[in-house]
Amino acid sequence: MKDNTSMMAAGLSMQNISHAFGQHRILNDISIEVPNGQIACLLGPSGCGKTTLLRIAAGLEPLQSGKIIIDGRSMSKSGGRSVPPEKRNIGLMFQDFALFPHLNVVDNISFGIKGSLSERKRWIVAGLDKIGLAGYADHFPHELSGGQQQRIALLRALAPEPSVLLLDEPFSGLDATRRASVREQTLEFLKESGLSALMVTHDPEEAMFMSDNLLIMDKGQLIQSGPPIEIYSHPKNSFVATLFGQIDVLDGRVNNDGLVETSLGNFAANQIAPGTLVDVLIRPEGISPCKKSHITTEKTETVSLRVVGARPIGRSSHLRLTTLSGVNSSSIIRARVPGIFLPETGSLIDVKIDPAYVFVFAKQDQTP
């Protein structure tokens, strides 16, 4: 589609961005870098300020404090003004796609193209072909499905050859069955075009799938950033750990051996001082059933748990388990087991817990 050597864009850099609506502080000293060719995802709950950050990058929201550099060019001008959005050479994809309802597919895509249209005609035709909408050039947006609109919006944003692409919840307008395939296609498309992209989402699966670099935001602050698998495996605090879906929390206290004793066994406390009250977070996918015979040979610690309920949910089974004794005897532990595994309610099963899915954080409130 595009000659990769000519796409040596320097990416997007936002430094020390703070922002407020009136008295209400939205962003607090946020710095992010999206190097050339990378896809970064801003992940956080709604209202955390991620969309505002994106709109500031696009120039749709005035820059109040901080610095933005796109493609090596500062977006601040003298006199406190910012470079307007139309002069930033960025592409922006909206949550509602924002296709122009009065223009057909081709006119929508060529809306941002500067200069000779005939040169880019071939690109548009090839693009439409690639996204499987070759015959739709004359269609109007209202005649297209959500997935088709999404792909047209992507093509429209890419048509003026921006140096940075910004995406605001680009898949949330699609129904669950379509989302996965559109997502794959979009990722392929972005990687092929080789430009830097910053995407905003509240869907952790989407964020992990799309990003080279994952940025976790909460209440206007950047909490953690890094490769997605790094953040998934080593969340900085319980907020980050909780973002990736259901997780069970056990209370505990660090003993003198640097371990936390819980009803599910002992877990390493990772340098938290002895005596500290802690939360032990266990991902459901970290709990797996095992056969008795194995345990005796391997020296892995196992726990017996009582089955409270088991439901099949397609590719995996969802178990609700409870301990037989201990401080947390009344609490429910959830487990995600691959395949069909439906033990009877009330029966006992042995499980082992993968320490890679267990996170120990000191409690904020240390009064027992």
């Binding site: 407020a20 609506f21 009136g22 008295q23 209202g47 969309t51 505002t52 709109r55 696009a58 120039g59 749709l60 929201e61 005035p62 109040q64 006199g79 406190g80 003004r81 307007p84 959005p85 139309e86 002069k87 930033r88 050479n89 960025i90 592409g91 922006l92 909206f94 949550q95 509602d96 924002a98 296709l99 122009f100 309802p101 009065h102 809306f111 941002g112 500067k114 429209r156 944003a157 048509a159 003026p160 910004l166 605001d168």
Partner: protein, 572 residues
Amino acid sequence: MSQRVSVLGLEKTSVFALFRRIDGWTFGALLTSLLIAVPILSVFVVALAPGITSSDDIWSHLVSTVLFHYISTTLTLMLGVGAGTLIIGTGTAWLVTMHRFPGQSIFEWALVLPLAVPAYVIAYVYTDLLEYAGPLQIALRGIFGWSSYGDYWFPEIRSLGGAIAMLTLVLYPYVYLLARAAFLEQSVSVLEASRVLGKTPWQSFTKVALPIARPAVVAGVSLVMMETLNDFGTVDYFAVATFTAGIYDVWLNMNSISGAAQLASVMLMFVIALIALERLSRHGRKFHHTGSKHATLPTVPLSHSKALLASLICLLPIILGFAIPAGILIDYSLAFYQVTLDSDYLLYTTNSLLLASTSAVLAVMIGLFLAYSIRLHGSPLLIGAARVASIGYAVPGAVLAIGVILPLSYFDNAVDSYMLETFGYSTGLILSGTIFAVIIGYLVRFLALSFGTLEASLGKVTINMDGASRTLGHGPASTLKRVHLPLIRTSILTAGILVFVDVMKELPMTMLLRPFNFETLATYVHQYASDELLEESALGALTIVGAGILPVIILSVAISRSRPGHRSSESS
């Protein structure tokens, strides 16, 4: 968050920083708003600082003679018309939205028709019909054998009561439209809940539907009262001494602009009260939507006799407010069109058309510019300025005329004395008493129509359209041209037509601001009718009514589309 338009940080930045951020759009919009607001502000200045104009003692004369009569007459007129339109407007709206009876779907839009007839036109027609020498009294005398005035009692049409009746007949559609919309907006579940909880349809109306619709009804009545206050033709023709008639009398007959200005400033208090009433009622609209389910309203089928009665009730205002006046005008026009054509009708029509189209184009351009600037940079300062600039719709034409003439003559006098001193040459009046002054007056009064229509229409375009266009490399002007204009095309036309028609009908400002011997259709018809020559000018009056039909058609189309219940039942 994504719907948020950037807000100029008024609270945190210094004045210097504020001015740095003001770009061409904001500056232009502020300047335009200020210019439009000058006449309105002039009247306020006169009201607050009467010393500026009261060089003669006409004021004390007015106070001791006519002022309190003006006040009581104006109040009676406003209350009478308010009550009349409240009953007819709400009653018919309730009938057509909540019941099924013969002709109901026709009445739904036909009830708006009287809006096409200016109050002064209906006043001429009914005077012609009902006066002593009119066909009705002649017929009655013939039937009953009465021979003279003393033999029988017949209501005098040229009276305060007559004026109330005339204004009510053509203004009730304002209340009807807003009440109807409010009834339709109501969530069906709320009404159904009332029925399920044991209330009859009538109880549901009085206890649920009407209280919920009250803010809309109040807004409608306050609009009606603004129009009543604005009316000049009817009260002048009926010799009812209201403020508007008084301003005209003091200005043109007593030749005292300052006296007129002082009357205007008293009248302004009425206006402020009405604006407050309308704003308050809009504020109260908040409690409208508790549920969003807009299924078809549960209409009550009526029994034969009740259905007949309902049809008659709805038919009566249409016949009285539209069919009879239009019929008589058509009748006269057919008989006398040659006389009308001979009396410079074409010239007056051309004058009216030119004024109306110029004002419409300008009002749409200014309105669009203001609305789009606010969309670009919705600073509180700019929004406030635009609000002030669009207050003209509430200020009566006679008052605005004073607001236009004061600054213009000040400007003329300043230029004149400067030229006389410097070059020994008098320029005389440059702007006052010209077409320019008339158009300024129209713009100040009718800007709210175009601005309001276009602002609402732009508001329906998602802000992401702007974002998409801007990030695709198009600046604000290019975005307006390539995205917004095509999207709001229909509303631009609507806004233009609304202003066009109101200028065609406008009488009081035109009378006061027009150049000497310059006639529009409205002033010509008023002049002829005042001279008891209605037949001869009927074609002119009919032309005005014909133009007035245009917005009625627009409203009718809107009515047939604005039935959320019907739409949702189609799609589900």
